[in-house]
């Protein structure tokens, strides 16, 4: 079997890549895509650790499930906000986002 540490390293690498992408992208849509990658990487870490620690109460899997739920809610709201902002201001570039009020 592949040792759990390999899954943990992969999760960390993808999380870092996505985090740097999230901080550097100019487009809000791409930033949200990076957030999706980050939550998937965190889910992988939860699952790998849960299995490595032989956790019979399934805490790792339960956490990964909630991770997924929160991220689904976040992408729905986030994309709705992006759409709203684009309608009002005609741009989704983070450099131009400086107004909370419409």
């Amino acid at each position: 079997m592949v040792p759990p540490i390999a899954f943990l390293i992969l999760g960390a690498v993808v999380f870092l890549l996505a985090m740097i992408g999230f901080l550097t992208r100019r487009s809000l849509v791409q930033a949200l895509m990076c957030l999706e990658l980050m939550t998937s990487a965190v889910g992988l870490t939860f699952l790998a650790l849960g299995r490595a620690l032989g956790d019979t109460s399934m805490t790792g899997m339960v956490f990964a499930t909630f991770c997924m739920v929160v991220s689904a809610a976040e992408i729905g709201m986030g994309l709705a906000l992006v759409l709203l902002y684009f309608r009002k201001h005609g741009t989704t570039s983070t450099d131009d986002l400086d107004l909370m009020k419409g």
């Binding site: 079997m1 550097t24 994309l79 684009f86």
Partner: protein, 167 residues
Amino acid sequence: MGAEATSWFLFTLAAVVIVGCSVAMLLSRNFVHSAVFLAGALLSFAGLYAMLDATFLALLQLFIYAGAVTVVVVFVVMLTSTSVVTYDSLLQRQTWLALLVGVAFALPLIDSLNTLAKGLPSAATSPGGTEQLARALLTTHVAPFEISSAILLAALVGAIYLAREAS
């Protein structure tokens, strides 16, 4: 030996696809291409979840992420008519600062992975499948489970309220 080699092969394949798709997603100037690369990465994550005996979560990942989320992202990309980057640079001006933050975050992460590598048992045990997950979700973790359904409902209603055409 056969099973060992196969699982390493599958893991390496998924890892290469995930890292490659992530980098391609970040570097792509066309957002529809970005969304497709995202779907590829999320599909491979589903494969890894299945390798970790989390078949139910692998299916969820397949339906919700690779299916629904990708479609919604493509919709938004097309509705905001910004599918191709028009500005001169993909990156913000503060790129070096972001890299600095990345390094500052990576160093403790590497350190903790180092510690984990020594402490983790190498032979992974399989705690159980979908039945145990369902039991845990509906007994021990029933309160967060119900709250998460309320969060999803609130997000759904909020998204519809925000995105509807103002009349």
